[in-house]
């Protein structure tokens, strides 16, 4: 372990156990309040009118008939918002929430109404007259890159894009080191192959919802379902041209996000409707709106070239990645390009990524954004090469695995990492040697994710009776309230049940980054531990005052202040509760807090193994067995770590087998519902087995690494590799839906 490690070797009492989550009862009894569960006196219903066209200039919008309708209190179009938003990315967010000059995709918002009931609002939407000038559209990434493709924007490409390319190409990214030509020259076998993945949606169960109240004094309150209410505050304030401090945002419970709730769709519109109407406005999306107009992930087209020596050593790796991220710049192709070869220690490696716009909804983050598609391409190619050379796919990966000291393909040098450990565990696992039957195949793949730290605030308050409340600013998606309570209890030496963690609103804490980048258990955990340490220092100070000894003669051990040694005098220990009870007399209330831009989020690696069975007559695929091996650094609550492993694997299986955005020739989304957008159902899956490895992250006091995203990176390739072996034909286009697989088998 590195010498500058923040991690202490320690024996944990609470961290690593599996207590009940504090929000569990609320969620199973229906008491928990989600986005749509809030109401306010005088509340109006807000609804959005959406473009039925994939690409159209908006010539005019006539709202007069809708406005004069009984029960309608406000109609909003782009004209109501500030004409100019300085930050280009935020200007795009506004344009996505409410179209300006053009409707850029089927489902793009063009107007909104607030009315006394849903029925009135629906009727009012029909009275809004929009005059469209229809334009040619493009939804496929490769077609959008043709120089003659219909252009969504003019002159928006950044300086990295060579002249003469389609106006839809927004940016070019390049990463790598070495000389790939020299590397390919050393290879015994070079494989070149193209891969495609379709756009998928995060598929969270809870549709977007919010309740906005804009006061006549210019102060506003917003209740919404989001992964980051501070982000909502800052984004809405910028879009509405108001000061951040005048808008208070409270996060509801959240029914899933997976990255899709790291931006805004309804919130600025609801605020504007409320401002105009002078009444609270509630907006709740329907499922079709969620599919058509929120942020699915990018679809991709990727070319990979890998050179391998006979012994399995990769001599060079190259990938060209093209991602369409919908109607605005910012597809995660940069992340895809950085992560594609990250698991491997390569002398010669290069990736080039193209960010492309199309007439589809603006993509939003989806769990390890950009990485699963890149890993699908690279891990498929490695698997194919290993097969051709008659090598064990796990051995090939072990031979090339990145380790401590490896210079990553995207630049930095890795500290202690866990890839090798996951591969060795996989090799020793009974799953790897279990026999397979006819039409069955086994696949493996590795995956990497960066993880993130970022701005974080925690306040830890000691109540007069000795219980503890922790206030943090990150919506709890995966059980983080439990994890924070556990870390606070561990640090303070008190029972888990004595700590209650809440998600505070934007008025209560300083800036907090979004619940994304697998950052919360790492960064908020780190801040919670620091806040607890600050409270402990204060409690030691109070004990010192009572005992009339020096502050540094008091230590905190086992949940109590104690004299540091015999010289400090013979004082019986004072527990947290005892110190809290007399706090008024020793200086007042006791709290600890921490505000930090948390650095040192450790990267995380995983290896997945899956067995599939193919019905060669119908192309149906069955997942027989699935095992996840992943490094968690330190699993604070192992059940939630397993849940993240399983959830990522299942979403990846859906992406690999059946989930896809299907657009018709008319540029309209064909499957805006859960019937034809097929996420896996429980009966499609075996229990997903998990193996947690703990290679401590030197950047965290307890060694924690983020675990939430890495788990979706390997499954696309693992499933494709398994199906390819079972079917005897290489599958390079996801999803491997039955018609696609049957056609591939037929073409064998």
């Amino acid at each position: 372990m590195a010498l500058d490690s923040k991690t202490e070797a320690r024996k944990f009492k609470i961290v690593g156990t599996r207590p009940l989550r504090p929000d569990g009862i609320d969620k199973v009894t229906g008491r928990a309040r989600f986005g749509a569960d809030m109401s306010a006196p005088g509340m109006l219903v807000g609804l959005i009118l959406r473009s039925p066209h994939p690409h159209a200039r908006i010539r005019s919008i006539d709202t007069t008939r809708a406005e004069s309708m009984e029960g309608v209190h406000a109609v909003v179009t782009r004209a109501d918002f500030p004409a100019f938003v300085e930050d280009e990315a935020l200007a795009d967010v506004l344009d996505n929430c409410m179209a300006g000059e053009k409707a850029l995709y089927d489902g793009h918002a063009v107007a909104a109404v607030a009315a006394t009931s849903g029925a009135v609002a629906r009727a009012a939407l029909k009275l809004i007259e929009v005059e469209y000038e229809l334009l040619a559209h493009v939804t496929d990434v490769d077609e959008a890159m043709r120089p003659d493709a219909p252009a969504l924007h003019e002159d928006r490409a950044d300086e990295t894009v060579p002249a003469g390319m389609s106006d839809n190409v927004m940016a070019r990214h390049e990463f790598g080191h070495g000389d790939i030509d020299a590397g390919f020259a050393k290879a015994d076998r070079v494989l070149e192959r193209g891969y495609r993945t379709e756009a998928t949606h995060q598929g969270y169960i809870e549709p977007h919802a919010c309740l906005a109240t804009f006061g006549s004094d210019g102060q506003a309150d917003l209740w919404c379902c989001t992964q980051g209410h501070y982000m909502v505050r800052n984004t809405c304030a910028a879009i509405l041209g108001m000061e951040q401090g005048r808008l208070r945002v409270t996060a509801s419970e959240i029914g899933g996000g997976f990255g899709g709730k790291t931006t805004v769709f309804l919130e600025p519109v609801a605020l504007m409707l409320s401002k105009k109407a002078g009444r609270p406005v509630k907006m709740v999306m329907g499922r079709a709106e969620v599919f058509r107009a929120t942020g699915p992930t990018a679809s991709s087209s990727i070319d990979v070239r890998i050179g391998m020596a006979k012994d399995g050593r990769i001599t060079a790796g190259f990938a060209e990645l093209r991602y369409q991220g919908g109607a605005y710049p910012g597809s995660p192709v940069d992340m895809g390009s950085m992560s594609a070869f990250a698991p491997y220690d390569l002398e010669h490696v290069k990736t080039v990524g193209w960010d492309v716009v199309t007439n589809r909804p603006k993509q939003a983050a989806y769990r390890a954004p950009g990485a699963p598609m890149a890993a699908f391409a690279v891990e498929s190619a490695i698997d194919e090469l290993a097969r051709e050379l008659g090598l064990d796919p796990l051995e090939v990966r072990l031979k090339n695995a990145a380790r401590e000291g490896t210079r990553a393909s995207y630049g930095p040098t890795f500290p202690a990492i866990g890839l090798e450990a996951t591969l060795r565990k996989a090799k020793d696992h009974p799953h790897w040697s279990a026999p397979l039957g006819p039409n069955q195949g086994r696949g493996v793949a590795c995956g990497f994710w960066f993880n993130f730290g970022g701005d974080t605030c925690v306040s830890l308050n000691i109540t007069p009776d000795g219980t503890v409340t922790v206030s943090e600013g990150n919506p709890d998606i995966g059980g983080s309230r439990a994890s924070m309570s556990m870390m606070a209890a561990e640090e303070l030496g008190i029972p888990y049940e004595k700590v209650r963690t809440i998600i505070a609103d934007t008025g209560a804490l300083g800036q907090n980054d979004v619940t994304d980048g697998s950052r919360v258990t790492f960064a908020v955990g780190l801040a919670t531990i620091e806040a607890a340490r600050a409270a402990k220092r204060e409690m030691c100070k109070r004990a010192a005052r009572i005992w009339e000894i020096e502050e540094d003669a008091v230590v905190w051990e086992d949940g109590a202040a104690r004299p540091a040694g015999p010289n400090a005098g013979k004082h019986p220990p004072m527990s947290l509760a005892e110190i809290a009870a007399v706090a008024t007399n020793t200086g007042g209330p006791i709290a600890g807090h921490c505000e930090v831009n948390a650095e040192g989020a450790g990267v995380s690696f995983a290896t997945h193994m899956v067995d599939t069975e193919v019905d060669p007559e119908t192309g149906a695929v069955k997942i027989l067995r699935y095992t996840v091996f992943q490094d968690a650094g330190k699993a604070v609550h192992p059940a939630y770590v397993e849940g993240q492993f399983q959830g990522g694997a299942v979403q990846g299986i859906g992406w690999a087998l059946n989930e896809e955005y299907i657009y018709g020739e008319d540029g309209r989304l064909q499957n805006a519902g859960f019937l034809d957008y097929r996420i896996p159902v429980a009966s499609d899956l075996p229990m997903i087995d998990t193996v947690i490895l703990e290679i401590p992250n030197p950047g965290h006091p307890y060694g924690v690494r983020g675990v939430g995203e890495t788990s979706i990176v390997p499954p696309l390739a693992a499933v494709a590799n398994a199906v390819s072996h079972a079917a005897g034909v290489r599958l390079t286009h996801l999803p491997i839906s039955p018609p696609r697989l049957l056609a591939a088998i037929g073409a064998k």
């Binding site: 119908t618 149906a620 499957n671 896996p680």
Partner: protein, 287 residues
């Protein structure tokens, strides 16, 4: 919107033919309520048939079974005698939705919703089931095949509704089976469905056959050529090959988000072969 729940067929017919505006029948409501919520033209009157006398009964009738139009899928599945005689029909009904849906969904609703992909319909056609229709002009019995007219359309006239479905008496050595293809394992809609009913003589030769295909045309298809391929055989390999070819030929699917023409055409044959083998096995004795 009015909700009415008459207790006799006469009363129901009277309301159906005289209520102003659009009157829709609700049985289980598992299609209707979903459609109403997703913005279909609203009904002025909802007529619930569940309280009409006899409509929730499964009764012996002339050696066969008369199944009331309001009998749920779950009730059919729990009727051991019926399952013993018409396992293919019941398994088709029981494929609909989930446990919750089964508690409400009816076979008649599945038929009258007139989806080309309705699961129970091919099985009913293969079973040669007959629908009892009541209306202002009295009662008429209609083969299941003649009820659907196309996607979302039936041949029922204004004021008419289905009061029961009749499954004929099981003949000696006979058996039925239904298979559907869906990309997942449940909660999905048939991309192709196929039902086969077979009868054998004592020597194990197929004497009669009915083969029906779902989701590969605007309405259920009775594949007569496919049936002819089986009659007079012992359902051996050549017969099965002929069955597969005839089913693929009979299928007239469209390509859409759920499957390509080539896929549906091919899988129609695959399912027919598999269903025929199950039906043969169920017919028992016919080795």
């Amino acid at each position: 919107m009015h909700y009415v729940s008459p207790t006799t067929t006469d009363e129901a017919v009277r309301i159906l033919s005289s209520a102003p505006g659009a009157c829709r029948i609700v049985a289980g409501g598992t299609d209707l309520l979903v459609q109403m919520r997703s913005g279909m033209p609203e009904a002025d009157t909802l007529l619930d048939i569940k309280r009409i006398g006899g409509l929730r009964e499964i009764a012996r009738d002339d050696g066969g079974w008369r199944i009331g139009a309001a009998v749920s899928g779950a009730e059919l599945g729990e009727h051991a005698e019926l399952v013993g005689e018409w396992p293919g029909v019941v398994e088709a009904v029981n494929l609909i939705g989930s446990t919750q849906i089964q508690g409400r969904a009816t076979m008649a609703g599945n038929l009258c919703n007139a989806s080309p992909a309705a699961d129970s319909v091919p099985a009913l056609v293969a079973a040669n089931a007959v629908v009892r229709v009541v209306g202002p002009e009295g009662v008429r019995d209609v083969p299941v095949l003649d009820i659907p007219a196309g996607p979302g359309k039936t041949t029922l006239k204004r004021g008419e509704f289905v009061s029961s479905i009749y499954l004929p008496a099981k003949t000696g050595q006979s058996g039925d089976a239904y298979l559907r293809f869906i990309p997942r394992t449940e909660m999905d809609i048939a991309v192709v469905g196929c039902a086969v009913w077979l009868a054998f003589d004592a020597a194990g030769t197929c004497t009669e056959a009915r083969v029906a295909l779902g989701a590969v045309g605007p309405k259920v298809i009775l594949a007569e050529e496919a049936a002819r391929a089986l009659v007079g055989t012992r359902i051996d390999e050549p017969a099965l090959d002929a069955l597969v070819a005839a089913c693929s030929a009979a299928a007239r699917p469209i390509a859409d988000k759920r499957g390509t023409v080539a896929f549906r055409t091919h899988v129609a044959g695959v399912l027919a072969r598999r269903a025929a083998l199950i039906a043969k096995n169920r017919a028992g004795g016919a080795a």
